[in-house]
């Protein structure tokens, strides 16, 4: 039974199913438990967070290979990442007692004056799917609020998003606010959004730039391994 749950979690990650209401890529999966229900059941049955994370990771590895083989598309990656994120959220309270260090914590926000949050939400799903703990501050967030959240939450990474040429300027102001409250050296700042470029990221003193959600995750992974 234990093995069954582990393999079912892996299978449901591959199918991109968060809950029992979700359709998968095979027929007639609606109504069967998804990653959320299976993770809850696994914890009830006393499985360790490590075993469950192993299943989530194994599922995501398969998804990555299918994506590389062009068998899976970006929506499949996102659905699977969402399923992993849902599992990780349930496991979060159990990590410390299991002696597992999370990969890292990321705060994400769309900057002041900007209500566009599609890109930020995609990045959040992908980061959670990659095993990061993500705190999403939302959109239209002023620099001081972001800087204070960094001080309180102590994340390793801050992801800033903007869609407009007018609001992308708030990214620089946010980095200045981090300088002002003394947290700049504690956090790596990664920026992204349609008008943002590598050159702009450098000009405001950001540590990284993600042209899309997948690159954003790769940049965070690269910065993690360098730190």
């Amino acid at each position: 039974m234990t093995e069954d749950i582990i393999s079912l979690i892996e299978k449901n990650v591959i199918q991109g199913r968060v809950t029992q209401e979700d359709e998968g890529l095979e027929d007639d999966m609606v109504g069967q438990p998804g990653v959320t229900e299976l993770t809850e059941k696994a914890l009830e049955e006393g499985l360790t967070a490590k075993d469950i994370i192993g299943a989530l990771t194994a599922g995501m590895d398969v998804v990555g290979k299918k994506f590389e083989a062009k068998e899976y598309f970006i929506p499949d990656m996102l659905a699977s990442a969402e399923a992993v994120g849902a599992g990780m959220e349930l496991l979060e309270p159990h990590l410390a007692s299991s002696g597992i260090e999370p990969k890292g914590k990321v705060i994400v926000a769309t900057v002041k004056g900007d209500l566009h949050d599609i890109g930020k939400n995609i990045v959040s799903i992908l980061l959670r799917g990659a095993g990061y703990i993500v705190k999403d501050l939302g959109n239209d967030i002023d620099p001081l609020t972001i800087a204070q959240a960094v001080k309180d939450e102590k994340p390793q990474f801050l992801g800033l998003s903007a869609l407009l040429t007018s609001t992308m300027l708030r990214m620089g102001e946010t980095i200045q606010a981090l300088e002002a409250n003394g947290t700049r050296s504690e956090v790596r700042v990664v920026v992204g959004g349609a008008p943002v470029s590598e050159e702009f990221a450098k000009s405001i003193g950001a540590d990284g730039y993600g042209a899309d959600g997948f690159q954003a995750v790769r940049v965070v992974e690269a910065l993690s391994s360098n730190s």
């Binding site: 209401e21 969402e82 949050d117 939400n121 995609i122 799903i125 999403d136």
Partner: protein, 508 residues
Amino acid sequence: MARQGVLVEPYCRLNQEQIELIHKESMSILMEPGILCFNHDAMELFTGHGAEAVRIETEGAPCWQLKIPEKTILDAVNSAPDTIILGARDKENSLVLNAHEPRVRFASGSEANNWLEVDVEAFTRKRDPDVEMLVPVFREEKGTLDRLAKAAHLSQHLENWDSFLRTINIQDDDINDDNKDVNKFFASLDNTTRHVMSGLTTVEQLAPTVKMAEIIAGGRDKLRENPIISFITCVVKSPLQFVDDTSAKAIEIAKHGLPVVLSSSPQGGSTAPIKEDGMVAQINAEIVASIALAQLANKGTPVLYGSVPTRARMDDLNESYGFPEFNQYNIDCVQMARYYGIPCYSSGGISDGKVPGIQASVERLFSHLMVALSGPQYLHYAFGLLDRTNTFCPVQAVLDDTHIDMIKRFATQPNVNDAEVTESLNQIRKVMGTSHKLYVRYARSKIRAGEISPVYPFEGKGMVDETLMLARERMDSILSLPRRHLDKETRDRVFTEIPGILARLKND
């Protein structure tokens, strides 16, 4: 299972009253002034069925002024089948054309003299020689048998190319009037399993061409069940003249009982009135008179209403396909064909532009889309035609296939019903309960069902338009695939039994 094309909700320009009015106008034309007839057999067929003929004294060929009453036309037109089959070597590629069903299939055409190659060459920038750019360069070649075979091979691998209507005029040194038809049909049939349509060079070539098709189809009866070939003949020279040669061809083809397009191609402003009703009434009169001729020769023979109305340019009086009027005339004709219950061969996807580019894209997309939406059963000119009908460009055909796919997706009927509404409400409610509020996961099943339009396949990566380069790559990759030739036994029989087939085609 035949090829399905796309079923459209037909866009109409004419209301029922206007359709009836144009019909009456056409019938009036066929009585006064009537139609000139340069073919004796055609004159006799009509006069045997209620028409009047008055001999016109000319110094040239014999000619009669025919006055054809409405009853003669309608009796004959009503004997034409409303559903016809255009068969194919591979039966799954056959087409079932039902005049009452606006299901569109896309075909090539016409018989262009030129074949346009797209080469890609590197150029350096004059003011900065370090900058090199790849630019498409065009090279015009003449039509040959080898290139016709290449086009047929290309058609086999372009999904939306429903029927191979001969693309180019073969001008090889060893091709003449006595062997042209058998060789062009053979080169086409030996390289594509789609339906093959072409005109005839001489009426004498009809018998060997049909015999070859019978060998390939598996016998005389099999060819009638699965007519892998069909013909097109423009019986009327506009305005209103039955041509001796093409009338003879229409009569003979009809006697064989094989599908034939009876077409007319007047130019609004030169060989037909430029005003819409006058143009449509005249071409309609010309086509229904041609259909009547075929039906009088062999009642019930399968025919298509072949409308190719164009408009004359007012700067040089050449025909033009890029004007909005081209679309108007063609859409009206589609409606007239539907009125008579005869499958329609219409025209769209052609350009006056000499090379693939902005003019070609705008003009061809305009008629590809608008005429297709009117619901003709067979839309010819849809692949690779440029410079009016003078040039066929295979790279353009590759682009057209993609654009037709887009049109077919657009024309698909909306899927709105209780089950779909319930599913959408579930999606919306579930997504609004998430933090990310994204519907992306619900695209997955639609992608796999093929319902999601793909990204434009010839999109460049930088600030250079790479469309033609990428389309050229796709064409090269298709042409490197093995050809679907006829089996050896069939080929051997064709080479042994059909006179005039060039021995050099054996080695292809």
